[in-house]
């Protein structure tokens, strides 16, 4: 398969992730969209590694997945804390940085 196909697929996934971040008000959905974006990037790495016959790409994926796991954990912990504090997780309520 030509590599552009894989890249296009990754692009579509990334686009979906971006739209999710931009347009969903629910923070959980935002986090999920971020995971989607990360996966798109992973796809690019793996395809690149296969195409260039270099295993470094797959090592990168390893690290990306690990970091994504940490980020998801911390992010979800914050969601829980926010929900406990504000009773809602709609992003329009979090305006502390205003002014």
């Amino acid at each position: 398969m030509p590599i552009e196909y894989y890249f296009s697929l990754a692009l579509v996934m990334f686009l979906c992730g971006v739209c999710g971040v931009l347009f969903r008000r629910n923070i959980l959905f935002v986090l999920m969209s971020i995971e989607l974006m990360l996966n798109a990037v992973n796809l690019v790495f793996v395809s690149g590694s296969t195409f260039l016959k270099n295993l470094d790409g797959q090592i990168m994926v390893f690290f990306v997945i690990t970091v994504a796991a940490c980020e998801a954990a911390v992010g979800l912990a914050m969601v829980i804390a926010l929900f406990r504090r504000y009773g809602t997780i709609k992003s329009e309520f979090f305006r502390i940085l205003r002014g």
Binding site: F7, C16, L36, K53, F62, A72, K90
Partner: protein
Amino acid sequence: MSDQLVFWGLAGFITLSSVAVVTVRNPVTAAVALVINLFLLAGVYAFQGADFVAAIQIIVYTGAIVVLFLFVIMILNLDPEHLRSPRPRIWEHLVLGVVIAGFAYIGYRFLDSLDVGKVASNRLPDNTYDVAMILFSNYLWPFEIVSILILLAIVGSVAIAKKPK
């Protein structure tokens, strides 16, 4: 032939599930769609011969992260009222259009300039062995640091999510 089939099948369902993740209202549905997405992606990796990564993807991403999402969703116990998104406003449509157009354009320009070539499916005998060899020699230092990062994340998330006294 079979390659094409596999690819297009996977690609189609991946696209569908991606769209599903960002459009559905129910977070649980979205999580499930995410699971499907990640599974299929693991399949793509395996298709390309990256066994190790595929396995990691399933075990860590699907098996841990999305499960974590589900846990949180259930803990929060959101009511449907909560989940209703407000009507998208005009500018949101505009931004959507701009974003899609922009991405399309970027994609077009970028992909156009690539060297056309086939992905050599180099299914080497022992992908895991090769990955391990590189990981623990060239990338030992990042490996260790990442383990500390995980520790920090554990401690951090526990600290953040703890019930205040």
